[in-house]
């Protein structure tokens, strides 16, 4: 079995001799021509016909992609998924996105450059380039200039390659055997690596633990804790009463919750429900009714809620003739102001929700007292 060799090295004494040899050796077309020199030689890239590295283009594409990723991510977070007004700025403020776009662009670009160079273009991990174990390597790192004809296939003819190099003026020839390509990811290697990482984590964790235990005053980051701020449920010397939490100023009403009172119930009888009878309005009313009313008035509004049995209270039966005759305004008034044992719902239901509940109560009443003509309405 003939041993296939990895490459044939031709050793030259001067860079000029190397440069002159390159075109001749390339013309022989016996394999890939590669040069190994102690320092960069101007013009050798062109002489070897090396193509431009694709790394620059990869970095550009990934950098742009990084910037776009960061923009899309921030746009989705701050403008679509969870828009919060911060500092009076619009949810979609490109100015605020730029620093992070810049950082992520740099991150993508540097990782592409580093990993692309090592893994894609240099084909690492790869322990020990064959040339490193040649006899010529001591010369390459000092004062020798080496031209290598590297095998491209099994059919590599090392004798012809040696002849070509010699013909081009090489003073010495060395044939490199094929490198040992046995897999290095053996179980032994993996075990030792994993063990090393585990030990390092253990030691670092122990050091961290003991540092914090023995020097508790050296907390790593305390700046955020020591702010002069008010905390919920905590005391504070800022206010006279010593509480961190304060009651809202008297008369404070949240947006959308006005009005809070509408005179007497009789006066409210003339109020007209401002909302249209649409599917959406009924859905809002149904949800609000279920949350705020159903527990006492019952799911059907007949006063048979789950609390009625437990406490013996007697909430209004909204199906009674008295309440079916009520104008919308009077029901609305009861929701806003409360009636008898019923507390005011003004703080919990917005103006729109209150009127939606009125519509929903009307629907419940109609449902329990349906007429024949209700069945005739067919509109697919």
């Amino acid at each position: 079995m003939s041993e296939t060799s990895y490459a044939v090295l031709g050793i030259f004494d001067t860079p000029d001799a190397l440069m002159q040899a390159i075109p001749k050796v390339r013309a022989s077309k016996l394999g890939t021509v590669e040069a190994y020199t102690p320092y960069p030689i101007h013009g050798i890239d062109e002489a070897l016909g090396l193509r431009r590295s694709p790394l620059g283009g990869m970095v550009l594409v990934m950098g742009v992609l990084g910037a776009l990723t960061a923009f899309g991510f921030q746009y989705w977070i701050s403008a679509i998924d969870y828009p919060i007004v911060t500092g009076g700025k619009a949810a979609n403020s490109w100015e605020a996105f730029i620093p992070i776009m810049f950082e992520v662009m740099v991150l993508f670009a540097t990782f592409t450059a580093g990993l692309g160079m090592l893994l894609l273009l240099n084909k690492l991990p790869f322990f020990g380039h064959p040339v490193l174990s040649s006899k010529a390597i001591t010369g390459i790192t000092r004062d020798r200039y080496v031209l290598a004809l590297e095998a491209e296939s099994e059919a590599f003819d090392s004798a012809a390659a040696a002849q070509a190099l010699q013909g081009a003026g090489a003073v010495e020839i060395e044939v490199l055997p094929a490198p040992d390509r046995s897999p290095f990811l053996t179980s032994d290697f993996i075990l030792r690596t994993a063990g090393g990482i585990f030990t390092a984590c253990l030691v670092a964790g122990l050091v961290m633990f003991l540092t914090i235990k023995w020097f508790p005053l050296l907390a790593p980051m305390k700046y955020m804790q020591d702010q002069p701020r008010l905390n919920a449920q905590k005391g504070s010397t800022f206010f006279k009463d010593g509480h961190g939490m304060q009651m809202p100023v008297a008369g404070t009403v949240a947006r959308g919750y006005l009005p809070t009172a509408t005179g007497t119930q009789e006066a409210a009888a003339t109020l007209v429900n401002p909302l249209p009878r649409t599917k959406e309005v009924f859905a809002v009313g149904r949800k609000a009714f279920a949350n705020r009313c159903e527990v006492c008035h019952g799911a059907l509004g007949n006063g048979m809620g789950s609390l009625t049995a437990a406490y013996g209270g007697k909430p209004a039966n909204l199906q009674a003739q008295q309440f079916r005759d009520y104008p919308d305004g009077k029901i609305y008034w009861a929701i806003v102001n409360g009636k008898n044992a019923m507390p005011s719902q003004a703080a919990d239901l917005t103006e729109a929700q209150r009127w939606s509940v009125v519509h929903y109560v009307r629907a419940l009443q109609r449902a329990q007292n349906a007429k024949d003509e209700d069945l005739k309405v067919v509109a697919p």
Binding site: H42, R52, G56, L60, G87, G88, K89, E95, A96, I98, P99
Partner: protein, 382 residues
Amino acid sequence: MKQNKQISTLLWGAVVLGALGVFGSYVAAGPERFWANWVLWFVLLFTLGLGSLFIVALEHLVNAKWSVPIRRIPERVSTLLLPAIPVGLIALGAIPVLYPGARPEAAHHPILAGKAFWLSLPFFSVRTLIALGLCILGLWVLVGGSLKQDTTKDPAFNFRARKFAPAFMAIFALVITLVAFDWISGLTPEWYSDIFGVYVFAGAFLSGLAATVLAVLHLQDQDRLEGVRGDHLYNLGAFLFAFTVFWSYIGFAQYMLMWYANFPDEVIYYKVRLVGAWRVITIALAALHFVLPFFALVTREAKKDPKRLRRVAYLMLGAHVLDVYWLIFPVLGTKPHFSWPELSFALFFLGGILLWIRGAMQKGEDMPVGDPFLREGLEFRL
């Protein structure tokens, strides 16, 4: 030769025609507009000269060898600081007209009254004179010494320049900050930004670089500067490329902090530049000063391609004019002024600058032949 003469005549014609327009604009368009134009061109002349001098000092500071063959070019461009002296002295006339801090009303302004001493006409003028004087000192040591070295071939100049360069960097920082704060941000004295001097520096350096690139390419067209190759051009192109990013970084950092904080006295500066026609100019500035040159120079080949470099350098100089226009002209009102007074000023000053540079390009040898590192610089390869 004959063509040279024709160009000279043309430029002189432009200067005379421009001068007529300049005088006319004082009478017809009013002193405010006249002085705004004058300050614009003073700042342009000054930044162009000082930016070039900075390139020269930078080369001495870091002991650069590659740039020795082209060092004479920024040295010649930096002599524009000499005509900047009379222009600057005349510009002092703008202070009582344009600069609110030096006007009598300032005494009743709660903020300006506190800064009255600094902003007043006498101290303003003194600072300008000091700035111009320091520039002349730098010019004398770095450019004068280099020209003298052509005949004496005395390497002692290199040591002197290398020792002087760090001191000049401090002087440069002081001078460009003084000019930026006094002449540009002094137009709106309630507004201030710590980084403003750096912003103006970035523009000045870019304009000096662009002028250097253009002059190098122009001399190469005339078969002068033999030995200057793509490798040298590549370094100049890389500088241009890098500093477009630096300029936009500083400009955007300044804008973003003010936009975030949203203090009325700070944000008003950008508010006037982000409504109406000024908004268009702001966007154009970002495109012409950053986006276009950045992508034009992004590849390796582009940085040493003379054709592309020439276009980008012209673009960069134009963008620098637009930048300074954008900084100064909003003081005249919410609408950008651009018509015959501006064109006359451009004719007058551009004609004058080109005439001066044409003269300066004949000064001394094309390369610093007395510099012992010239050979090493010529052999420079990437």
